[in-house]
């Protein structure tokens, strides 16, 4: 009698223990596949123990609790703590809510906190609930986060009323216990497989495998009592039941309510998938090299003027171009996760008596299957005292990014020539970005070609010369300045010097008004000034022939700087002197050699024109111009030196 009572008590205790361990094991299986903190994915790779017979030799690798239900999983102390806290008896259910928590896209400093986590108490009545990271609630409030319960697991031992749990003889109870144990093993095997087939597992796997910061995370919450889901929430969810296992005092039930369409949530979040750059945003010559800056005059010459145009960041409004669409996803993997989440093909559903399948998708996603390494996600930490995890979505608002991009833009006119050298539109020419024109650019030229000279800041000069396209080279090296960069740039100093040259010539110019020539000071001066400017530039051009370059470092300039009509050699000498003094322009000499004849012809033409103009002028004007020419020649001499 006493032994029977003892045996039954022992059997009942064993039954109680089996049920308790079943709760723990089922909780562990669910949590380790929904929480990045603990996972058996890597743990299962340790094939040290495969049979109980070898357990003696490798008992250290098999913990006592692993042997329960013959399923060795990674230990999860938190699962046990949760179980102890939320359950006082085996008849209290265990509810596990798997919450998909997503941070809003436009999070700001207020919501950004490394320690801000996740789970908030949905129910104030749930006194028995225990939350993961409950001590790290979001300080900014629940409004900043988007949470949705995507799974709800129920593990409970339904009591069977009106039946004595301790009834039955010893043999039947033993048989019951072993049969029960076997059935629970089978149930837990099914549970282990099922948790990996549900949609939430894909999210968990991607979060774990990526190891990168994502804007969403899975947060399991264990409690013994939760508020029922709303009708709206439950409509979108499917239920899967595991066949209950009868125990001596009731039956163990396991079921899950899961969201079959997690892609809806990911689409609502509108998280950018991946960084996208507009390749032609910052005026890439490949985008539209022929676009002109609206403030620049339209050239009537050859289309070769157009390649100098460049679409700048400030000019996109003019061209009605869309602003740069740069967006960052939290991580490349997040994009992949999103793709997976939004892929309906991953939303499989159990068939037959279970809810229907979700709609299939036409996309199949091929994945990397190398998941042997366990890569803990920094997003979620389920330990009682977790360290702050940098669960920061990498999202840069468009406004900030656009400003950064704009800041990186070069100045509108500060464009170095070498940068444009390789663009296909430039076709080997030393084409330069356009410059705003000056008044003097167009005056009485028979042939026009567009020569672009880069300008710095405000000093922009656009010269139009009536030379052939091949002649562009000689004007491209107008001046190399003290910064001695190989690029061609017109600084203010250069413009000033050029301005000086506009008014005065270092040596007699065909358009200089000589003594005795009568000219109308008012009407002719501007024309002559323009012509003179052209001539000055001609003079400053690199020597046309290499062999013409002479050493004019000596003080032969006063001879050159005479009012008389310069001879051909003197013109070339002046030009050569100009370049002898300037560094890094020797290369231009070689290029200009073939255009000597054309230049001479042009000079002759100017001379003829000058004679015609001067024939109508007066002496007074001529004397004034002559004195001014002397002054300019002196200053020119200084600049050359």
């Amino acid at each position: 009698m006493t032994s029977t009572h003892t045996n039954s008590h022992t059997e009942a205790a064993k039954m109680e223990q089996v049920i308790t361990e079943f709760f723990y094991k089922s909780l562990l299986i669910i949590l380790e596949s929904r929480s990045s903190y603990v996972s058996s994915r890597n743990y299962s790779g340790e094939q040290t123990v495969s049979s109980p017979s070898s357990s003696s030799s490798s008992s250290s690798s098999v913990r006592p609790r692993d042997k329960w239900f013959n399923l060795a999983l990674r230990e999860c102390p938190s699962a046990l703590e949760n179980l102890d806290l939320c359950r006082r008896s085996n008849f209290e259910p265990v509810v596990v809510d798997v919450i998909l928590e997503q941070k809003p896209l436009d999070w700001g400093p207020a919501s950004f906190s490394p320690t801000s986590d996740l789970v908030r108490n949905l129910s104030s009545k749930n006194k028995n609930s225990y939350f993961w990271n409950s001590d790290q609630q979001d300080e900014s409030g629940s409004e900043m986060k988007c949470e949705k319960i995507i799974e709800r697991w129920f593990v409970q031992n339904e009591s069977r009323k009106g039946r004595d749990c301790n009834s039955g003889n010893r043999r039947s109870s033993c048989n019951n216990l072993s049969a029960l144990y076997k059935k629970l093993i089978l149930m837990l095997r099914s549970l282990y497989v099922t948790v990996r087939l549900l949609p939430a597992y894909n999210i968990f796997r991607d979060l774990n495998s990526s190891g990168l910061i994502c804007s969403f995370k899975l947060v399991p919450r264990v409690s013994s009592f939760v508020e029922p889901l709303t009708r709206k929430e439950e409509v979108d969810m499917q239920r899967f039941w595991f066949t209950p296992v009868d125990t001596s005092c009731g039956r163990l039930c396991l079921s899950v309510l899961y969201h079959s369409s997690i892609s809806d949530m990911s689409s609502e979040s509108s998280t950018p998938m991946s960084p996208q750059f507009i390749p032609d945003y910052v005026g890439s010559p490949l985008a539209d090299p022929l676009r002109r800056f609206p403030s620049l005059p339209v050239s009537h010459g050859s289309p070769s003027s157009l390649p100098f145009s460049r679409r700048h960041s400030w000019s996109y409004d003019h061209y009605k171009a869309s602003p740069p669409l740069v967006s960052f996803s939290p991580s490349p993997t997040h994009s992949e996760s999103n793709a997976l989440v939004s892929n309906p093909s991953s939303l499989g559903l159990p068939p037959m008596s279970l809810p229907p399948h979700p709609p299939e998708t036409s996309l199949a996603h091929k994945r990397n299957t190398n998941f042997d390494e366990y890569c803990p996600s920094p997003n979620f930490s389920a330990s009682p005292s977790p360290s702050p995890s940098p669960s920061l979505p990498i999202y840069i608002p468009w406004t900030h990014l656009s400003k950064a991009l704009l800041r990186s833009e070069s100045a509108p006119v500060n464009i170095a020539a070498p940068k444009l050298a390789n663009t296909p539109a430039l076709s080997g020419k030393q084409n330069l970005p356009p410059c705003p024109p000056l008044k003097i650019t167009r005056a009485g030229t028979s042939r026009t070609d567009n020569i672009r000279v880069p300008a710095e800041t405000d000093a922009t000069i656009e010269k139009i010369f009536s030379f052939g396209k091949e002649d562009c080279w000689k004007y491209s090296g107008v001046k190399a300045f003290s910064n001695s960069s190989p690029r061609i740039s017109c600084s203010r100093s250069s413009s000033r010097s050029l301005q000086d040259d506009f008014d005065y010539s270092e040596f007699p110019c065909p358009f200089d008004v000589e003594d005795g020539e009568m000219m109308d000071p008012g009407s002719r001066k501007s024309q002559d000034a323009a012509v003179g400017a052209l001539v000055r530039l001609l003079k400053k051009a690199p020597p046309l022939r290499q062999n013409v370059s002479l050493n004019f470092s000596e003080a032969s300039r006063p001879e050159i700087l005479s009012n008389s009509i310069p001879k051909q050699s003197q013109i070339l000498e002046a030009v050569t002197v100009e370049y002898a003094a300037a560094p890094n322009i020797a290369s231009f000499r070689l290029v200009a050699s073939k255009t000597t004849t054309d230049a001479l012809e042009e000079l002759r033409g100017y001379k003829v024109m000058k004679n015609l103009l001067l024939s109508e002028g007066g002496k007074a004007y001529t004397s004034n111009v002559a004195s001014a020419a002397e002054h300019s020649s002196t200053s020119k001499d200084r600049s050359i030196l």
Binding site: S50, S190, R196, G348, P350, L354, E360, S362
Partner: protein, 196 residues
């Protein structure tokens, strides 16, 4: 003891998908019948968005792969035919020893029939493009078609896995008791004669 039979839903797969599909299904079934101490191993399929579970036994994995190779070679000899592979679990019972025989017999207590319809990849119909002004890139349509087909196969495979889970949950009584030191029940993988 009754022999429980489970006919799994037929899967229409291509030749290159056979190995993955069979691995997934066979290991899932064996995992449910490996009631000894196991350390489960998660395996992600390469072709589909499915993670299945192995019981972690290297020998078992090797044997299953051998059987799959044997099945694939059979399929190659019999193309475009519906095929079936059978996974059976049995108990070894020794017959009454006699003077002449000391045989043991196998008592099958469970049989799983995996039905496959191995299809060839459909050829691209290029003739359609000749009669249309709009030139359609054949590559894109083929890719979409392939993706769509892949998704269908994945959904079907998922159905089959849940079918296995449901069967395992509903029928537990016929499973023999767990023997000490045995990880999984004796099994055999065969191709039924009618398909040979």
């Amino acid at each position: 003891m009754n022999c429980e039979v489970c006919q799994l839903k037929e899967l229409e797969v291509e030749h290159f998908e056979i190995r993955e599909v069979l691995r997934c299904i066979l290991h899932t079934i064996v995992f449910h019948r490996a009631l000894g101490l196991v350390r489960p191993k998660d395996v992600d399929l390469e072709l589909f968005e499915i993670t299945y579970v192995q019981c972690g036994d290297v020998e078992l994995e090797k044997k299953i792969d051998e059987k799959i190779d044997h099945f694939i070679s059979w399929v190659e000899k019999h193309p475009n035919k519906k095929s079936q592979i059978c996974l059976s679990f049995y108990e070894v019972k020794s017959k009454q020893p006699s003077w002449f025989t000391n045989k043991t017999e196998r008592l099958y207590w469970e049989q799983w029939y995996i039905n496959l319809n191995v299809t060839q990849h459909p050829k691209h119909h290029s003739s359609k493009s000749h009669h249309t002004k709009l030139v359609v890139d054949p590559g894109e349509s083929a890719t979409e078609e392939r993706s769509s087909r892949r998704a269908m196969v994945e959904a079907s495979l998922r159905e089959v896995l849940f079918q296995i889970i449901k069967f395992v949950n509903e029928k537990k009584d016929h499973v023999p008791p767990i023997s000490e030191g045995v990880i999984y029940f004796p099994y055999e993988i065969t191709i039924p004669r009618k398909f040979q």
